[in-house]
C-alpha cells in the first residue's frame, strides 16, 4: 500500500508529461507516415504497370541478349541488337500479313456487342424454359434481366475505358522499352549490390535463395508468356478456318485469359462461343470452334505439350490460392489485376517454397547438435 504514495507530485507531473508527449508524438509520426505513404502511392500508381511489363519483357529478352553476349559482344550493344531485331520482326510481320484492322474491328464489335448479348440472352432463356419444363421445381429465376443489366454495365465500362487505355498504351510504348533496357543492362549489378547489403552470417543463404528464385521466376514467366502466345496463335488459326468474325480479338482474349490457370481458359472461350452461336448458329462450325477452344488448344496443345515442357519445373499454385488471387487482383486493379494476380501469387509462392527448401537444408541451429540430434 505504501507504493501508491511513493510517487511525489512532481513525479506524477513528469509521468503525465512523458505519457502525453509520447502519445502526441506517436500520433504525429503516424499521421506524417500516412501522408508520406499516401504521397508515395500517388507518385507510383502509374508506374506499377510499366515496371511490371518491362520486368516481364526483360525476362523474355534476356536469353537472346545472352546469346549475343556469348558471341563476345558487350551487353549494351547486344541489347541494342536484340531491340533492333524485335522491332524489325514486328515491322516485317505487319508488312507481310498486313496489320489486322484492329480499330475497325473494335468499332464493329462495339456495334455488334448488344446483338451478341441479346442473342445469348435469348438462347439462355430458351434453355431455362426447357429446363423448367423438365424440372418444374426450378423456381422462375429472372436470368434475362440480370444478364442484360450486367452486360450493359460492362459494355459502358469498356466504352469509357477505351480512350483512357489508348493513352495508357501510348505511355507504355514509351516507358517499357526504356525501363526494360535498364533492367536488362543493370539488373545483375542492382541485385548484387542489394544482396551485398545482407549481413555476413546470412550472406551465403541470401545468395543461394536469390539464385534459386531468379532461376524459377525466369522459367515461370518465360513459360507462361510463351504458353499464352502459342495458345493465342492456335486459337487464331483454328478460328480462321471458320466464318467467324473477330478471330484476332478472340485469339488475344483466349491467350490473355490463358494466363489465369483453371478458370481463365473457360472464361476465355465464352465470347468466342457466344459469337459463334449468334452468328453461325448451332451447326458444324460451332462444334468445330468448341473443339478448337477446348480439345485442341486446351487439352492437346496446353496440357499434353506445353505444360510438361514449359512449366512443369516450377511448382504450381493450389486452386484455392488461384481463386483468392483472382478476386483480390480484380479488387485492386480490375480486369488487369485478375490477369496479373495469379502470376504474382505464383511468384510469392516460388519465393516462399525456395526459402523453405533452403531452411530445410540450411539449419542455423545445426551446429548446436550432433548428427544424431544430441545437444552439443
Amino acid at each position: 500500500m505504501h507504493n501508491q504514495n511513493n510517487m511525489s507530485r512532481a513525479q506524477v507531473a513528469v509521468l503525465y508529461l512523458v505519457l502525453t508527449t509520447s502519445i502526441a508524438s506517436g500520433i504525429a509520426i503516424y499521421s506524417s507516415a500516412s501522408i508520406i505513404t499516401g504521397l508515395l502511392k500517388t507518385a507510383t500508381v502509374d508506374l506499377f504497370l510499366p515496371m511490371l511489363i518491362s520486368l516481364i519483357v526483360s525476362f523474355l529478352l534476356d536469353p537472346t541478349v545472352q546469346f549475343f553476349e556469348g558471341k563476345k559482344i558487350n551487353r549494351t550493344l547486344s541489347i541494342f541488337i536484340v531491340y533492333f531485331l524485335v522491332f524489325a520482326l514486328v515491322f516485317l510481320l505487319l508488312l507481310i500479313i498486313g496489320p489486322p484492322n484492329w480499330k475497325g474491328m473494335m468499332q464493329a464489335l462495339q456495334a455488334d456487342f448488344p446483338r451478341y448479348v441479346s442473342g445469348a440472352i435469348v438462347y439462355l432463356s430458351g434453355l431455362l424454359a426447357t429446363a423448367q419444363q423438365h424440372f418444374p421445381f426450378i423456381t422462375h429465376y429472372d436470368i434475362v434481366e440480370r444478364l442484360s443489366s450486367v452486360s450493359q454495365s460492362f459494355f459502358g465500362l469498356i466504352l469509357k475505358e477505351t480512350p483512357r487505355s489508348a493513352m495508357r498504351i501510348g505511355s507504355l510504348l514509351l516507358l517499357v522499352p526504356l525501363f526494360s533496357f535498364f533492367f536488362l543492362r543493370d539488373s545483375r549489378r542492382i541485385m548484387r549490390s542489394l544482396i551485398s547489403l545482407s549481413p555476413n552470417r546470412y550472406f551465403e543463404m541470401v545468395l543461394d535463395i536469390y539464385a534459386n528464385v531468379s532461376w524459377q521466376l525466369a522459367h515461370f514467366i518465360r513459360g507462361r508468356i510463351l504458353e499464352a502466345l502459342i495458345i493465342g496463335m492456335v486459337v487464331w488459326m483454328g478460328l480462321s478456318l471458320t466464318d467467324i468474325r473477330y478471330a484476332p480479338i478472340l485469339a488475344v482474349v483466349a491467350g490473355a485469359s490463358n494466363l489465369i490457370p483453371y478458370i481463365g481458359p473457360i472464361i476465355g472461350m465464352i465470347p468466342g462461343l457466344v459469337i459463334a452461336l449468334v452468328d453461325l448458329g448451332m451447326g458444324g462450325q460451332f462444334w468445330w470452334i468448341l473443339c478448337v477452344y477446348f480439345l485442341i488448344a486446351q487439352v492437346i496443345i496446353d496440357n499434353f505439350i506445353l505444360i510438361p515442357i514449359l512449366i512443369s519445373k516450377v511448382s504450381n499454385l493450389h486452386p484455392l490460392w488461384v481463386i483468392l488471387a483472382i478476386v483480390m487482383g480484380g479488387k485492386l486493379y480490375g480486369v488487369l489485376g485478375m490477369i496479373i494476380g495469379v502470376p504474382i501469387a505464383s511468384i510469392i509462392n516460388i519465393i516462399i517454397i525456395s526459402i523453405h527448401q533452403y531452411r530445410r537444408s540450411f539449419n542455423p541451429y545445426q551446429r548446436y547438435f550432433t548428427s544424431r540430434g544430441k545437444l552439443l
Binding site: 545472352q66 553476349e69 556469348g70 548484387r192 544482396i195 551485398s196 555476413n200 552470417r201 550472406f203 551465403e204 543463404m205 545468395l207 543461394d208 536469390y210 539464385a211 537444408s361 540450411f362 545445426q366 551446429r367 550432433t370 544430441k374 552439443l376
Partner: protein, 176 residues
C-alpha cells in the same frame, strides 16, 4: 629516400586493385587481364570484424573464400564444445573450395581473428558465369581444378606414408 614517399609513386594503381590480387592467387595465375576483370565482376568482397564467424561446421556451403587481408582461423569443435585448431590462414590463402561446385556441408568452422577482408567466389555466380561466358569460366575452373588436384595429390602421398608407418609400427609390435 623516405619510404613514406617512395611507395606512392612506384606502385601503379593496378597493383591495388582486386583484379591484381586475384591474379596473384595460384589458381588464377594463368588468367590474362581481361579474364581477371571478368572474375572481378563475379566475386563478392566481404568485410569481417575480429571474432566474427565466416561459417560453421555443418552449414551447407555455397562457395569459397580468398583472404585479401587479415587472418582466418580454421577449427573443429568436438562433442563437448572443445575447439581444435586446424589452421591459421593469412592473406593470400584460400579456403572452402569443397563447396564451390556442389552444396556440401562445411567440414570445419572458420572465424576471423582480426579485421579481415575476404573475397568470396560462390557457386551460383560460378554457374551463371559458366552459362554466360563459357570460355573464361572454363579457364577459372581449370585453375581451381589444378589447385585441388595438387591438394589431393599431397593428401594421397601423406596417406601412403602414414600407411607405411602404420604397417611398420604393427610389425614392430608383433616382433616385440
Amino acid at each position: 629516400m623516405n619510404p613514406f614517399w617512395s611507395n606512392i609513386f612506384k606502385n601503379s594503381g593496378y597493383e591495388q586493385t582486386l583484379a591484381y590480387f586475384l591474379g596473384t592467387m595460384p589458381m588464377f595465375k594463368k588468367l590474362d587481364k581481361r579474364e581477371l576483370a571478368f572474375l572481378e565482376n563475379i566475386v563478392h568482397v566481404r568485410n569481417y570484424e575480429a571474432d566474427e564467424t565466416v561459417f560453421s561446421e555443418g552449414d551447407i556451403g555455397s562457395g569459397m573464400y580468398f583472404i585479401r587481408s587479415g587472418q582466418i582461423q580454421i577449427f573443429n569443435m568436438n562433442e563437448h564444445g572443445h575447439e581444435t585448431e586446424q589452421a591459421i590462414l593469412e592473406s593470400g590463402d584460400f579456403f572452402g573450395e569443397i563447396a564451390l561446385t556442389a552444396s556440401r556441408p562445411r567440414c570445419a568452422s572458420a572465424r576471423a581473428t582480426e579485421p579481415t577482408i575476404l573475397v568470396g567466389l560462390f557457386r551460383s555466380d560460378m554457374f551463371e558465369a559458366v552459362r554466360r561466358h563459357p570460355a573464361p569460366s572454363a579457364k577459372i575452373m581449370l585453375g581451381l581444378n589444378r589447385v585441388i588436384s595438387d591438394r589431393l595429390l599431397q593428401c594421397s602421398i601423406q596417406l601412403e606414408e602414414l600407411k607405411k608407418q602404420l604397417i611398420h609400427n604393427r610389425k614392430q609390435q608383433t616382433d616385440a
